[in-house]
Amino acid sequence: MAPADPFTLDLTWTQVSPRLAAARLTVAAFWLVPLLVGAVLPPLLSGIAWLWVLPAVVVLLMVWLLWLVPRQVGALRYAERDDDLLIRRGIMFRSLVVVPYGRMQFVDVKAGPIDRAMGIARVQLHTASTSSDAWIAGLPPAEAARLRERLASRGEARLAGL
C-alpha cells in the first residue's frame, strides 16, 4: 500500500454524491452525442475509410470521460472542522482549500435543471478574496441546506472583519 496521502490531514472526509458524475456525464453527452453524429456522417456518406478516424476520436473521448469523471467526482471531498471547512479535489492536479468560517462573506447554493433532476446541488463559499476557489458540487439538497445553515451559523459565531 502506498504511503498515507499527506493531503488527507488525518481527517474524515465526506465524499460527494456519485450522482454528480452522472450529471456531469449528461452535460458532456449533450455536446458529445451530436458531435459523434456529425463525425459519423462524412465517412458514411463519402465512403472514404480513413474518415472513420473522426468518430473514433470522439468515441475515445467519450470513453476517457466515462473513466475520468467518476474518478474526479470520487476525489472531490470535504471535511468540516471546528473552525474551518476543507475541500479537496483533483487527482492529477490536486488541491486542498482551507476556508475559515469566520472569513466567509456569503454562501451560494445553486442547482441547474440537470442538477435538480439528479437531486444534487452546489455550494459555493465566498470570502473577501476572489482567489478563494471554494465550492462543493454534488451535494444532496438536504446536505447542501444543512451545510449552508452550518456555515452561516458558524460564520456568525466566528465573524471577523476583513
Partner: protein, 610 residues
C-alpha cells in the same frame, strides 16, 4: 379642528429627516459637464469631419455655423444634465455612515458604514485643482463600484470632511449626533477646524503603535529601519533613537495651531493611549516633548479621554509626519530602467533600420501608434508617481502623489491586507524596489495604472523596509531587518527561511533557490524570484483562506505549492515547491495562527478603547 394632512412621503426621504443633507459644490456640473463636451468634440472631430465638410459644402457657407450651433446645443444639454444631476445629488454624514443620494431617472441612495471604511482618497483632477475643488472617495470593501464618491467639494471642506470621517470611523464620537452635524456644516467645519482638535492629539499613536493592536514582541524595538527620519515618532519602533523633543515640533505642524485655539475642547485619549502603549511592547511617546503642547489634554479627565469623546464641534485634521518622498531624478531613472524604455530603444532601432533600408514613408508612419503608446506609457508612469510622499498620522498612512491629477490617500491602520516588495530586473543594479499593497477597498475599482495600490513606486532598500514598517510596525521577528533582507535578496535558508528542497530544481531550475517561506509571530513572509525578486508579506490575521496545490510532476518530487488568498489586488501571495510534509504542516499551522491572530486583531474602529 383640522388634522394636518400628512405630506406625501417620498421613499428616499424615509427615516432621514434628522440627517443634514448637503449638496456638492455648485461648480460641479461644469467640471463634470466639460468631460462630456470634450468627448463629443473629440468624436466629432475625428469621426465626422468628412461628413461635416460634405454637408457644409451642401449647405453652403453657413454649414459651419450650423455645426457649431449643434455642438453648442449638445454642450448646453450636457451641462444642463450635469446641473440637474447635481441638484439631486446630496450627501449626509451621521455617526455611523455616509449617505449619498443621486440619480435623475434611477434614484440611488447609498449608505456606507464608517466602521467598514477601508480607505479615504481625496482626488484632484487638474481642472478641479485650478478652481480649488476636490473629490472625496470613500472606499468600502464591496467589490467593484462600491465606492462612495463625493464630487466635488471645496478643498478645505473635503479635508475637513475627511478628518471628520476618519475620526468617526476610528470610533471617536461627535457630541449631539446629527443635530450637531447640522450646525457643523461645511462652512462651520471649515472655520472651526483650526480651533478644534480631534484624534490628531494622539499624534504619538501613529499607525505604528496601533497598527495591529496586539502585544508586540521584543522584536519591535529592533525593527525601525536606520533610515527613519528624525521627525517620525516611532512608537512601535525605536523611541530610544528618536529624541522625544525632536518628534514634537517637527512632526506635528498642525498641533500648535489647533490647541492654541481651543484648549478646552481638547480631550486627548491619553488614557487609552497609555494603555495602547503598554501593549505595544515598546515605550511609546506620549512623550515629554508633546504633552506640554496639548495643555487641554493633560487637564481632561481620563474617562473622557478613554472614550475619545471630542467635545468640540469638528475634528481637526490629524497631524502628519513625513516618512519618505520620491525624488524626481530617481523616478525618471526608474522609468529609464523599465520595460518601456527597452521598447523605446527597439522602436528607435526599428526607425533607423527602416530609414537605412529606404523604407517608404508609409511604413515608418505606421509606427506612429506605437510612439503614442510609448509616450502615454511614460507619461502615466511619471504622472502617477511624481511627487510621491508618504506620511504617518493617527488616522493611518497618508500617501500623496500625482502631477496633474493629485491624489491623497489615507489608509487607516489594519486596512492593508498584504504587501509585496518586488524588483524588476533592470532595477537590480540600483537596488530599487517597488512596494505594493492589497487594500480591500481598492478591489475592482483600481484605475488603469494601479497607482492606488502603490505604497512606494521606487524605493531604496532602506525605504522599502521603511514602507513595510509603515504597514507592519511589528513584524514579529526577533531581527525583523535581517528577516526582510534575507527575504529580499537571500537564497536557501538564509535568515531562517524554509526553502524549497534541492529536488525542486527539476521543476524550477532557475528560481528554486529563492523559493522560501518564513513564519514570524505576526506575519508570513514568502520569498521568490531569481531575476524578478519578490517578497510577499501577509499578516496572519489578514489571511482569507489557504490552498495547497500539487501537480503531477510536483507529486513525483514530493513537493507542493501553498497559496495564501488575499483580497483582490496586486499581491497574490504564493510559495512554490515546498516539501510536501512542510507545506502541509505550514497549511495547518497557518490556519491555526490566522485564527488566533484574528481574535487579537485591531478592532475595525481603531481608536475605540476596548
Amino acid at each position: 379642528m383640522s388634522v394636518p394632512q400628512p405630506a406625501p412621503v417620498r421613499p428616499e426621504d424615509l427615516g432621514e429627516d434628522g440627517y443634514a443633507w448637503r449638496r456638492m459644490h455648485p461648480v460641479t456640473p461644469l467640471l463634470k459637464g466639460w468631460k462630456t463636451v470634450a468627448a463629443i468634440l473629440i468624436i466629432v472631430s475625428t469621426q465626422l469631419t468628412d461628413d461635416i465638410r460634405r454637408s457644409a459644402h451642401l449647405l453652403g457657407g453657413r454649414g459651419w455655423l450650423l455645426a457649431l450651433g449643434g455642438f453648442g446645443v449638445i454642450a448646453v444639454l450636457a451641462v444642463a444634465w450635469a446641473f440637474v444631476s447635481w441638484r439631486v445629488t446630496r450627501y449626509a454624514v451621521t455617526d455611523e455612515a455616509v449617505h449619498l443620494r443621486q440619480g435623475i431617472v434611477f434614484r440611488q441612495q447609498r449608505q456606507a458604514r464608517l466602521d467598514r471604511l477601508q480607505a479615504i482618497d481625496v482626488v484632484q483632477p487638474l481642472l478641479a485643482r485650478f478652481v480649488g475643488l476636490s473629490e472625496l472617495r470613500l472606499e468600502v470593501a464591496g467589490g467593484s463600484g462600491s465606492r462612495v464618491s463625493l464630487a466635488f467639494l471645496r478643498e478645505s471642506e473635503a479635508d475637513a470632511l475627511r478628518a471628520e470621517l476618519l475620526a468617526l470611523a476610528a470610533g471617536l464620537h461627535r457630541p449631539g449626533g446629527a443635530a450637531a452635524r447640522a450646525a457643523n456644516g461645511p462652512s462651520a467645519g471649515l472655520g472651526g477646524a483650526p480651533s478644534m482638535t480631534g484624534p490628531g492629539v494622539t499624534g504619538a499613536r501613529a499607525p505604528e503603535g496601533g497598527g495591529f493592536g496586539s502585544p508586540a514582541g521584543p522584536g519591535a524595538t529592533a525593527w525601525s529601519p536606520a533610515a527613519l527620519p528624525a521627525g517620525v515618532p516611532a512608537s512601535g519602533g525605536s523611541p530610544a533613537t528618536v529624541p522625544a523633543s525632536a518628534a514634537s515640533p517637527a512632526g506635528f505642524p498642525a498641533s500648535g495651531a489647533s490647541v492654541a485655539g481651543a484648549a478646552a475642547d481638547v480631550a486627548s485619549p491619553t488614557a487609552s493611549d497609555a494603555a495602547f502603549a503598554s501593549t505595544s511592547g515598546a515605550a511609546v511617546a506620549p512623550s515629554a516633548g508633546q504633552v506640554p503642547t496639548y495643555t487641554g489634554a493633560t487637564t481632561a479627565p481620563a474617562t473622557v479621554g478613554r472614550r475619545g469623546v471630542v467635545t468640540g464641534s469638528a475634528f481637526a485634521p490629524a497631524p502628519e509626519n513625513l516618512v519618505y518622498e520620491l525624488p524626481m531624478p530617481r523616478l525618471l531613472g526608474s522609468i529609464v530602467r523599465s520595460g518601456g524604455s527597452v521598447w523605446f530603444v527597439l522602436f528607435i532601432v526599428a526607425i533607423v533600420v527602416m530609414i537605412g533600408f529606404g523604407a517608404p514613408f508609409e511604413a515608418i508612419y505606421s509606427l506612429v501608434p506605437m510612439a503614442f503608446a510609448l509616450v502615454s506609457f511614460f507619461w502615466q508612469r511619471i504622472n502617477g508617481a511624481a511627487t510621491f510622499r508618504a506620511a504617518t498620522s493617527p488616522d493611518g498612512i497618508r500617501l500623496r502623489h500625482g502631477l496633474t491629477e493629485t491624489r491623497s490617500q489615507t489608509l487607516p491602520p489594519g486596512r492593508v491586507q498584504a504587501v509585496r516588495l518586488h524588483q524588476p530586473l533592470l532595477w537590480r543594479g540600483k537596488d530599487w524596489w517597488r512596494v505594493e499593497v492589497n487594500v480591500a477597498g481598492y478591489a475592482g475599482d483600481r484605475d488603469k495604472q494601479g497607482t492606488e495600490t502603490v505604497l512606494h513606486p521606487v524605493a531604496t532598500r532602506d525605504e522599502a523596509l521603511l514602507a513595510l514598517w509603515l504597514v507592519l510596525p511589528d513584524l514579529g521577528a526577533d531581527d525583523p531587518r535581517a528577516a526582510v533582507q534575507a527575504g529580499l535578496v537571500g537564497t536557501g535558508d538564509d535568515g531562517g527561511y524554509t526553502a524549497a528542497p534541492r529536488r525542486s530544481r527539476w521543476v524550477d531550475p532557475v528560481g528554486w533557490r529563492r523559493h522560501g517561506v518564513l513564519v514570524t509571530r505576526r506575519a508570513l513572509l514568502l520569498r521568490s524570484g531569481r531575476f524578478w525578486r519578490r517578497l510577499d508579506v501577509v499578516p496572519h490575521e489578514r489571511t482569507q483562506s489557504l490552498a495547497l496545490e500539487q501537480g503531477p510532476l510536483q507529486r513525483q518530487l514530493d513537493v507542493a505549492s501553498l497559496a495564501v488568498h488575499s483580497t483582490h489586488g496586486p499581491v497574490s501571495p504564493r510559495i512554490e515547491h515546498l516539501d510536501t510534509a512542510v507545506a502541509v504542516a505550514l497549511l495547518q499551522e497557518q490556519a491555526e495562527r490566522a485564527r488566533h491572530a484574528r481574535r487579537e486583531a485591531v478592532p475595525e474602529q481603531w481608536m475605540r478603547a476596548q
